[in-house]
Amino acid sequence: MELFLNQILAGISTGAIYACMALAVVMIYQAIDHLNFAQGEMAMFSTFISWQLMQWGVPYWAAFVITIAFSFVAGIAIERVMFRPLAKAPILTQVAGFIALYSIINSSAGLIWDFTIKQYPTPFGSAPFLGSQLISTHQAGMIGVTLLMLLGLYFFFQYTRVGLAMRAAASLPESARLVGINTSWMVALGWGMAAAIGAVAGILIAPVVFLEPNMMLGVLIYGFAAAVLGGLTSPLGAVVGGFLVGIFENLAGTYIPGIGNELKLPIALALIISVLVVKPAGLFGRAIVKRV
């Protein structure tokens, strides 16, 4: 029983990483109705920016705030320059754009900061959290920040005019324009917010996986999986999905014989597929009811 509880705890602590990334995935999905494969790389690049700032002597939280602001603006800029012209192009053209963006950012980071693995600091410390070896104060802090972001997003989408306008623009662009919403800017704003959330994710994840240009590769796959499992339309679902994937991955690795670390990922993904067969909109995704 103690082993079981410990594994759940360990799962929650890795799940926090996935939950964080999944939030960024849901954010961009809200804005553009599909996934951005370069999301992880954008987060990685932001993390490098904050690392560079700290190298130059900027204190942690100042670097944090500057990086978030930079990422927000950069996200909007990427949308304006690269994806706005592609807005009416077929989806596969956009996918090609995402892949191009992915390798551009990845290589630029390698060029600027090289591919050696770097330590990344944490403001929460790395002592055992509440006396447990399985969860550190950093991971507890990460869970806290993720939940705060979730709360923030919930209020933004449910209770603000811009949040409502963004949801409208994402679900029915033409109708949104007909009530006077500038849908093009809503998409740009979504990119900015997704980039900012991704930056937070990157900064929180870096102390765990270490900083290097390929740090987000695995994390993004888990983040996608978590978001899809929870339901791409629901920030809450994304976070719950992240924790579930983390927990399940740990339990499977411990209890199912023959599954070592190598097989954790396929098992986690297999679980997700089985859930989606039963609930295609994800666990928390709102299935759209239509009556004709």
Binding site: R161, L164, A165, R167, A168, S171, L172, E174, S175, A176, R177, L178, V179, G180, I181, N182, T183, R286, I288, V289, K290, R291, V292
Partner: protein, 237 residues
């Protein structure tokens, strides 16, 4: 009376295909005008051209201002509410959120709240369902929601694209009665596109008949309704 909307030599295109061949018409402040015609005559295209949702040439003026260079959302902000074909309901949002979206360009919070109450007075069925996902409403209820959403803009002009489509005759009667009431009480000018000519002519004071992208008939609604020839050749009843 001054012309609220003035359309001159309007031509519209879908790719290579020309859908409107030089339309001229105008709409008076406070009037309820109907645009009639068969399937494919260009009625929907005309409404879409007014809101710059289809490539077009010619001049469209609203209160003397040319609309050609404005984007759809900027035209809406001038006070033109467009209820599109198929109603354009935000089906995955609640009834109340749909109404709030109608007023999204407005900043006057207090009067938005009172306007929502006013819409519930016009359409009590919406009040009963205000937390419900709009997609779960019946066709008639969704059409009422679409009209209410358009009114939330406090428009000067409301464009309605086939509001009767797919609705039971009794519901259509109700809806048209409310449209007439809105036109009189809220001082909203209305341009309604209809296939249901008989009903539209009862409601409207001015009418245009359109055929293959051209206006072929115009006049007071009553005259057109009583003209035997027009009825037989264009309206089919």
């Amino acid at each position: 009376m001054t012309a609220l909307l003035n359309v001159k030599d309007l031509r519209a295109y879908y790719g290579q295909v020309q859908a409107l061949h030089g339309l001229n018409f105008s709409l008076n402040e406070g009037s309820l005008t109907t645009l009639l015609g068969a399937n494919g005559a260009g009625k929907t295209t005309t409404l879409r051209a007014i809101c710059n949702m289809v490539r077009s040439t010619g001049a469209i003026e609203f209160e003397g201002q040319p609309l050609a260079s404005r984007s759809t959302e900027n035209i809406v902000r001038l006070g033109i509410a467009h209820v599109p074909q198929g109603r354009g309901t935000f089906t995955n949002m609640t009834v109340e959120e749909n109404l709030q979206l109608g007023a999204i360009t407005r900043r006057d919070k207090a009067s938005i709240v009172s306007d929502i109450e006013r819409m519930y007075a016009y359409f009590p069925v919406l009040k009963a369902r205000y937390t419900q996902q709009a997609g779960t409403l019946s066709g008639g209820e969704q059409q009422m929601l679409a009209v209410a959403r358009a009114l939330m803009l406090r428009p000067r002009l409301m464009l309605l694209d086939e509001p009767s489509f797919g609705l039971a005759p009794l519901i259509v009667r109700d809806l048209f009665k409310i449209l007439g009431q809105i036109n009189r009480e809220e001082k909203v000018s209305i341009l309604v596109v209809e296939q249901n000519a008989q009903l539209a002519l009862e409601l409207a004071d001015q009418a245009y008949v359109i055929e293959t992208g051209r206006i072929v008939m115009s006049g007071a609604a009553q005259e057109i309704a009583t003209d035997e020839n027009v009825r037989k050749s264009y309206l089919g009843y």
